[in-house]
Structures are given as structure tokens and as C-alpha cells.
């Protein structure tokens, strides 16, 4: 209900503003913050925007999350058992990378433009930490493995045709936020392509925050680890004792 109201308000606002400034790209999210609460199981955000000739031109939406180091491990068979035998540590990778487009990326623009705008899995910088040991497989195989496995987690995705164009000027897209999302500042970029070139760009921030009981537990477990450990023991002893007393016949 709120969403419908929001959309219709936006439509009114956008159609009014479009009258004045031609080609202007306007876009916004229906919420600026995602809260990882105790009952959190993923979320869906609505991105809504407008530009004239939306149906003719192309739109790409890129959502990126805080940068992290990721370990890629490779298994091989040792005496019948599959063990992690090789490791690579990739530094400074986006923990979240969702691309939504009107058409496939290679149709929208040239390789070079995509590279400059860091669009697509191929253009995510792949920098290995020094202590990585990748002897048996070529680097490209490790990079493919990274992209494949990150897509499996739902944190990376590239979806074509997910930006829906309505009556030539409006566009909308649903951004799926999976339950395993990391807290931090997320960047939402909307790129407007015309004839393969970026004409306009709109950028906004999305905050993902942990709140509530789960967030507190996580914080205490990491910041006051010894206290947390002692509390966990007291909690267990007390509930064990309570259970015994409650059910004593």
C-alpha cells in the first residue's frame, strides 16, 4: 500500500519536473535504510525513476556493498577425501554487487565503456594478496570460481531485463536484498546509456544496519568477548538448573 502510494506520488512529481528539464534522469529508492532485525529474512527494495525516451535508451542499475577481502579455496582429492589444498586471498572486493539492466551489458555498451564504469563481473578488480598459492589452476579459473560462488550466495548478481519501462518515461526495478547481506554503506548508481555512451548518472546511498537484539549480541560477542563467554556460561548454567527444577517430579 505504501509502495503504491509512493509510486503514484513519484509519478506525479516526475511528470511535473520532466516538463521543464528534458533528458534529466531522476531516480530514487523507496527506502534509504535496510534494517537487519532479529526477524530479518531478506528484503526487496523498489527503485523508481524517470527519463524521457526511457524505452529507447538503456538503463543500468548497480548496487555495490562495502569492500571486503575474500578467500577462495580450491579442493583436491587427498587419499579419497576432498580437502582444501589451495588458497587465494582477493583484496578489496565488493561484498555486494547487483547489476540490473534493460538489455545485456554487451549490447548496451562497448567493452571499454563498461570497463571505465566498472560494470559487470569482468571489470571487478581482481587483486591477489601476496600469500596466495595458486599453482595448479590459471588465474582466470580462480576469477570464474569467485564470480560463480558469489552468485550462489546471492550477494552478486547480474540480471538482464529486470529494469521495467513504463509508458516510455518511467522505469522501475526490484532490488533483492538477501538475508546474508552485510551491514554497511551501499552505493546505488543508475546509469543512462544512449547509443552506447553514458549520458547521465544518478547516485545515492543505502544504509544497511543491524539493529535489535541480534545486533547487540553480535556487538558484545566481538567487542567484549570474555564477558560474552562468561555470560554464555552463566546463561547455560541458569537455564539448565531451571529446567531441572521445573521438571522435577
Amino acid at each position: 500500500m505504501i509502495r503504491i502510494l509512493f509510486s503514484s506520488l513519484l509519478v506525479l512529481f516526475l511528470s511535473a519536473s520532466l516538463g521543464h528539464a528534458q533528458n534529466r534522469l531522476v531516480a530514487d529508492l523507496d527506502q534509504k535504510e535496510v534494517q537487519i532485525t532479529t526477524g530479518f529474512n531478506g528484503a526487496e527494495l523498489l527503485l523508481f525513476g524517470a527519463l524521457d525516451r526511457a524505452s529507447v535508451d538503456d538503463i543500468a542499475i548497480i548496487v555495490t556493498g562495502p569492500s571486503k577481502n575474500i578467500a577462495i579455496r580450491r579442493k583436491s582429492n587427498v587419499a579419497g577425501i576432498w580437502l582444501n589444498t589451495e588458497n587465494a586471498e582477493v583484496v578489496g572486493l565488493p561484498s555486494f554487487y547487483h547489476i540490473l539492466t534493460t538489455k545485456p551489458l554487451d549490447v548496451i555498451s562497448s567493452e571499454n565503456t563498461l570497463k571505465i564504469n566498472k560494470l559487470g563481473f569482468d571489470h571487478i578488480p581482481f587483486r591477489l594478496a601476496r600469500d596466495s598459492s595458486i599453482d595448479d589452476a590459471p588465474e582466470a579459473e580462480w576469477k570464474d570460481a569467485l564470480v560463480r560462488n558469489m552468485q550462489k550466495t546471492g550477494l552478486w548478481s547480474n540480471r538482464t531485463g529486470e529494469v521495467e519501462v513504463i509508458s516510455d518515461v518511467l522505469f522501475r526495478a526490484d532490488i533483492e536484498i538477501p538475508a546474508n547481506i552485510m551491514p554497511g554503506d551501499y552505493n546505488v548508481r543508475v546509469l543512462h546509456f544512449r547509443d552506447g555512451a553514458v549520458v547521465e548518472e544518478n547516485s545515492s546511498t543505502l544504509n544497511v544496519v543491524k539493529t535489535g537484539l541480534s545486533a547487540e549480541i553480535y556487538r558484545i560477542a566481538h567487542e567484549y568477548a570474555a564477558f560474552y563467554g562468561i555470560f554464555a556460561i552463566i546463561f547455560a548454567v541458569a537455564s539448565g538448573w531451571l529446567a531441572a527444577v521445573a521438571f522435577r517430579k
Partner: protein, 304 residues
């Protein structure tokens, strides 16, 4: 209804967790076992990261051992002196175990070590239990079962530091219970189990303790060893999920109450046979996990 587990960092159905706690609690009530050796692998099957499953389960076992030991204390079935010697070993072993755990985690090998440890011990225990229960079933059909020797002397009795354990009616080297405690302590840290399923047979067959005090004494020392594991894992690896532990515990407490009532009405041998099959089933699933060619040779993990 979903609950976001703060340390496991995943969202899980609350009823799945309570149900799992209840099912394992039911089994532990029926069979009089701790249940950690089933709970940890089942949590892993449900997608909880293996290190979190282990750390959390240690925390839960503290609670279930506390409620279990109280009844044994009331009946005077705890050999405290023996328990303290076992405990000295247990604390040493579990401290080494947590250190080993942190090292293996850093090397990216902890998952497979946890699984292999479970395969080894579930395999052995499951097979022994199955054989034992089948024998018992056969024996109950025959008449005039024989009794073996109660106590045998071997080289273990020649070890130094002899100590008298009045309650257990034993005069043995303190190194024996210390060693048993230490080995079980290491396993407790790495596998997230109380270790009763290894300790109890070791106490009966290796130390020669009377069966009446075995369970109470092992529970007594398990409390402190798992508390030690809970504390050290919290500090060193941050893998204790208090919310997951609490929900599992809630299910387990209720399940165990029903289990005890059911267990009292059912026939022992057949039940033990069933438990043995269950243990072997979990073991088989784990074997399958590490032996079958993985769909993807690669895996990814966020580093802190």
C-alpha cells in the same frame, strides 16, 4: 517465522531450530545420551557454519549437563575426586583443542577436520552399539547368560602417581583418568560434544569404574570442560551463538522430558539398535559429504 542468528549470521526458521532441539532432546531422554554428537552434525546439515555449530553446541551442553547432574548428585552418584582428576585432564585437553581449532580455522581446514572426527567416532560408536544391541537381542532369546571377569589387571595398572578413589573403589594411577579427560577435552573443543559417548565406555572398560557412578561423574566434569570450551571459543574464535543455543535448549528441555517417559516404557535392546542405526546414518551422510566429488572444487569465504 524467521530469526536472524547473530553469530551464525544467517536467517533460520525458529520452529526448525526448536524442533531440532526437541528431536535431539527426545532422543537423549529416551537413550540417556547427551545428544551433542547428533546435534552438531545436524546443525551442519542445516547450513550452520561448522565452527559455529561446534562453539554453540558446547554452550548448550553446559546447560543440559547441569540439569542432568543435579539428579545424580541427589542420589550420590558422583565421584568428585575422580571427577576432578578427569577435569584437570579435560581442561588441559580442551584448551589445547580450542587452540588447535583456531589454527585449523585459519588454515581453512576446520570444516573437514570436524567432519572427519565425527565420521571416525560416530562410525566406531555406532558399529559397537549395533553389535552390542544385536548380541543383547540374541542373548535375551537364549537362557543362562554368562558373566565375564569384573576387573582385569594389565600394564595400565603399573603406571605411577597412584591415587585412591573411594567412591569408585579404585586404586589406580591418576595419569589414567587425566589422560582420558585430556583426550575427551580435545574432542570436546573440536567437535562440540560433551564426550560422554567416549568417556563413559572409557571409564567402565579402561578405568574399571562401577557403572553406578559413571554417568554422574562424567556429567560433572563435562559441565566444566564445555564451560571452558564455551569461554575459550568466545574469546578466540567468536563462534558461540547464544541465541541459537538458547532456542535449541528450549526445544531440548521439553523433548528430553517426553523422551525420559517414553524411554521408561520401551525395550532397551531394540531402542539401542535404533539409535545405532541413526548414528550410522548421520555418519554415512558425513562420509558422503567428504568423499563424493564436489559440484564445485572452489569455495569462497569472507575474511575479517
Amino acid at each position: 517465522m524467521y530469526v536472524y542468528l547473530p553469530i551464525a549470521e544467517l536467517s533460520m526458521n525458529i520452529f526448525t531450530i526448536i524442533g531440532l532441539g526437541g528431536a535431539v532432546g527426545l532422543l537423549s531422554g529416551i537413550f540417556g545420551v547427551g545428544g551433542g554428537f547428533l546435534m552438531t552434525p545436524l546443525l551442519i546439515f542445516l547450513g550452520v557454519p561448522a565452527p559455529v555449530a561446534v562453539g554453540t553446541e558446547a554452550n548448550q551442553i553446559v546447560a543440559s549437563s547441569v540439569s542432568g547432574v543435579l539428579a545424580h548428585f541427589r542420589r550420590g552418584n558422583v565421584d568428585i575426586k575422580m571427577g576432578l582428576v578427569l577435569l584437570a585432564g579435560g581442561l588441559t585437553g580442551s584448551t589445547i583443542g580450542v587452540w588447535l581449532f583456531a589454527l585449523l580455522r585459519q588454515l581453512g581446514q576446520i570444516e573437514v577436520v570436524i567432519k572427519l572426527s565425527f565420521i571416525l567416532f560416530l562410525g566406531i560408536i555406532g558399529t559397537l552399539m549395533l553389535i552390542e544391541s544385536m548380541r543383547a537381542i540374541m542373548r535375551s532369546r537364549q537362557t543362562g547368560a554368562r558373566r565375564g571377569k569384573l576387573h582385569q589387571h594389565n600394564w595400565l595398572h603399573g603406571l605411577p602417581f597412584k591415587m585412591r578413589f573411594r567412591k569408585s573403589k579404585l586404586y589406580i594411577s591418576a595419569l589414567l583418568p587425566f589422560g582420558v579427560g585430556a583426550i575427551v577435552g580435545v574432542l570436546s573443543a573440536i567437535m562440540g560434544v560433551g564426550g560422554g559417548f567416549i568417556m563413559v565406555p572409557a571409564m567402565i572398560y579402561l578405568l574399571g569404574m562401577p557403572t553406578s557412578v559413571v554417568v554422574g561423574t562424567s556429567l560433572f566434569q563435562i559441565i566444566f570442560v564445555t564451560a571452558n570450551v564455551t569461554f575459550l571459543q568466545s574469546v578466540q574464535t567468536q563462534t558461540v551463538d547464544i541465541m541459537l543455543a538458547g532456542l535449541l535448549l528450549f526445544g531440548a528441555v521439553v523433548g528430553a522430558q517426553f523422551g525420559t517417559r517414553i524411554g521408561a516404557k520401551l525395550k532397551g535392546e531394540q531402542l539401542r539398535g535404533l539409535l545405532a542405526l541413526l548414528v550410522l546414518g548421520v555418519c554415512a551422510k558425513l562420509v558422503f559429504d567428504v568423499v563424493i566429488t564436489p559440484e564445485d572444487f572452489f569455495s569462497v569465504e569472507f575474511l575479517r
